[in-house]
């Protein structure tokens, strides 16, 4: 049962995507969208229960363990939230001419194709399949980023496809090197199973550390590009700001997390082959760079979606720091942060998208007094901003604290000092931006229409998860994260 699900899961969004091509009616398309995402979530939960009871499952090139499951659940939950949000968002976008009604079906088909490729990256055991699916996410999402068709969008899409394709080819080179080391050590001949992560892990301590070191750096640069780690993040703010809002939420919420999963897989191999200190050092350097590089851009930003984009660079940096500080606490904190940031950032993009529609601009100097024209949306935006800034009792505070504790526990004082300074500055900057948008006097141009229900439902779901995870971590999620941590730390 569970093994079959491994094949069925990527097929669900694929079939949904094909179904989309059969109709042009916006209502039918939205219905298929929500239905497909719901089925996906239900199947993923069944798989999660099976894995919780019976351990990792594998079938062919696919395998799911606790680590993959954390990311899988994040993908499917956010996909459903995005689908619900899209219903009302799309109605409005079509009405004002932001989305052309005759191309809607290709939009939906691409979104689900994008989700399918992300699910393959999460479930892939075979590192080659992981790479192919990762490149697949680039191809599908590049078209979505340029979807509005104006030349800003196309510029962002071109930058995205060029930068990430260069990056990802480094990832392939790294994969080839790891495979070469594995083939030399294990003396295998190239069958389809021989790039399997679980098979490589079994002989990982015997792999040649020299080759693995170079391979890991290539992989780090490659998948790091896709994850938005500085200095390879150049595509990220453009892509996040130009993509349609639901796509921005997917890019920031899950795509960059899928790339992080790729990094974690190689981190475990590198840690076994050349000791945990080497990959940890690389991760800390990239993590700190990301946090530092993102800070000035967050402070000086006027475009709300670019702000959120740069903020993702910071948070991916924090996850990398958590993985680098390592140990059970750091790794647990990093994985929890992946979940927290995914949920919160999607919520922030949703709320920002509604505000943008209301004011007709992404410029935060124009978006003022949101509380007066859209009280619920404004509250959600403020909650998301508070959480993103790391205010207790929201979930991101919890995971940031864990990362911090791991850093202190392992004596990375310099890294901790830089990290704390940047977090404080970003805290102030983000709350300044959010406060200015929410409070004050709204301009006369702001739309005062009542708030649409479907985007609100999508946001409520995410806000509920965000607040819950801040107050307490449910026992089942805690167990899952513990097991995932064991997969990484050993």
């Amino acid at each position: 049962m569970a093994e079959t699900l491994l094949w069925v899961l990527p097929l669900v969004p694929t079939v949904t995507a094909l179904l989309m091509l059969t109709t042009r009616d916006r209502r039918v398309l939205s219905a298929i969208d929500v239905a497909g995402s719901s089925v996906l979530l239900a199947l993923a939960l069944i798989l999660a229960r099976d894995v919780a009871a019976g351990g990792p499952r594998a079938l062919g090139v696919f395998r799911v363990d606790a680590l993959g499951l954390v990311f899988l659940l994040l993908v499917v939950v956010l996909t459903l939230a995005v689908s619900i949000y899209t219903v009302g968002w799309l109605k409005q976008a079509v009405a004002v001419g932001n989305m052309k009604a005759e191309y809607l079906r290709s939009y939906f088909a691409l979104v689900h194709a994008f989700v399918a490729t992300m699910i393959v990256t999460v479930l892939a055991d075979n590192l080659g399949v992981l790479w192919i699916a990762m490149e697949g996410t680039t191809i599908t999402s590049a078209v979505l980023i340029g979807y509005h068709g104006h030349h800003h969008g196309l510029e962002a899409a071109w930058k995205y496809i060029i930068v990430t394709t260069i990056g990802i080819s480094f990832g392939l080179f790294g994969t080839v090197l790891v495979y070469a080391a594995y083939a030399a050590a294990a003396g295998v001949h190239g069958g389809a199973g021989s790039l399997s992560w679980s098979a490589i892990m079994q002989v990982a301590p015997t792999l040649d550390p020299g080759i693995i070191r170079i391979g890991f750096i290539f992989v780090m640069v490659g998948y790091g590009t896709k994850a938005g780690l500085a200095p390879m993040h150049l595509w990220l703010p453009d892509a996040h700001s130009q993509a349609p809002t639901p796509v921005s939420a997917l890019l920031s919420g899950v795509l960059i997390k899928c790339a992080l999963l790729g990094i974690i897989r190689f981190q475990t191999i590198a840690a076994a082959a050349c000791g945990p200190a080497f990959p940890a050092r690389v991760l800390i350097v990239f993590g700190l760079t990301s946090v530092v590089v993102a800070t000035p851009f967050i402070l000086a930003q006027h475009d709300i979606k670019r702000l959120l984009g740069y903020h993702s660079v910071e948070h991916v940096g924090i996850v990398a720091l958590g993985l680098g500080f390592g140990g059970p606490v750091g790794t647990y904190g990093a994985l929890l942060h992946v979940v927290n940031h995914g949920i919160t950032k999607a919520l922030a993009f949703f709320a920002a998208g509604k505000a943008i529609a209301r004011y007709g601009t992404r410029d935060m100097r124009v978006i003022r007094g949101l509380l007066a024209v859209a009280p619920i949306g404004a509250t959600l935006l403020m909650l998301a901003a508070l959480s993103l800034a790391g205010v207790p009792p929201f979930s991101i505070f919890v995971s940031e604290l864990m990362v911090l504790r791991a850093g202190i526990g392992h004596g990375h004082w310099l890294a901790i000092a830089i990290f704390l300074a940047m977090v404080v500055v970003i805290f102030a900057g983000l709350l300044h931006h959010a406060g200015a948008m929410v409070f004050g006097e709204p301009p006369a141009t702001a739309s005062r229409e009542p708030e649409a229900w479907s985007p609100l439902i999508g946001m409520f779901v995410l806000a509920a998860i965000m607040i819950l995870l801040g107050l307490t971590i449910p026992a089942s999620l805690d167990r899952l994260l513990q097991r995932a941590t064991e997969v990484v730390v050993g």
Partner: protein
């Protein structure tokens, strides 16, 4: 038994590697887009010859398939598509380097030296990867990225991308045990799709705003 001795294979792969580096220099030095396209086609041809040599030496039938696909796709199909696009856009634009070509060439030479230095520091790499395929592969990949970073026109950036992937393929073929076939096919499929999407974008920008997509630079900060 294999008709080629391991030493002979090493020599042939090293010779092909030298030729590959030569084609890379041609790409970097190309002042016209057509020359860059022809050079990358020649480079792909050399890669498929390397595949055929390794297939004969190891008796691995998968390598024949890979060599054939490389020949059909990367040496013929993709250069032909690029060629058509250049014709269709009806511009004989130069490649428009961001920094002078001489400077790029100097950087390319530096990359080659560093790649060989790096590989020389790895002892057991010789038993994992045939001959000098690793340093040549790293050099091709990095130089391809260099071309992408220092050229302003979209099509030249695509040429850089193909060259970069040729480097990876060369190393992957030379891994003594060979890469799994299914992976290589998947990789080629991804390359084709990416090239297709890029071509569509280039043509779309050309037809809507009459500019080269790589020239757009309004998004900043």
């Amino acid at each position: 038994m294999s008709p080629l001795s391991p030493d002979a294979v090493h020599t042939v792969i090293d010779d092909l590697g030298a030729l590959l580096l030569f084609t890379m220099i041609l790409i970097v030095a190309a002042g016209q887009i057509y020359r860059a396209i022809y050079s990358v086609a020649a480079q792909s041809l050399l890669i498929s010859i390397a595949g055929a040599v390794l297939a004969t030496a190891t008796g691995n039938p998968d390598l024949w398939v890979i060599a054939g696909i490389t020949l059909a796709v990367k040496a013929i199909l993709l250069p032909w598509v690029l060629h058509r696009v250049v014709q269709r856009m009806n511009v004989r634009r130069e490649v428009e380097p961001v920094i002078p070509i001489a400077a790029t060439l100097a950087l390319a030479v530096a990359i080659v030296v560093v790649s060989f230095q790096l590989s020389a520091s790895l002892g057991p790499v010789r038993q994992a990867i045939t001959g000098n395929a690793l340093p040549v592969g790293i050099a091709l990949t990095l130089t391809g990225v260099l071309v992408m970073a220092t050229r302003k026109t979209a099509l030249t950036q695509m040429v850089g991308l193909f060259a970069s992937e040729n480097g990876i393929f060369f190393t992957a073929m030379a891994v003594t045990q060979g890469m799994p076939l299914i992976i290589e096919i998947g990789v080629i499929l991804d390359v084709i799709l990416a090239a297709l999407v890029m071509t569509i974008m280039v043509l779309r920008v050309r037809s809507t705003v009459d500019a080269d997509i790589a020239d757009l630079d309004r998004l900043r900060g």
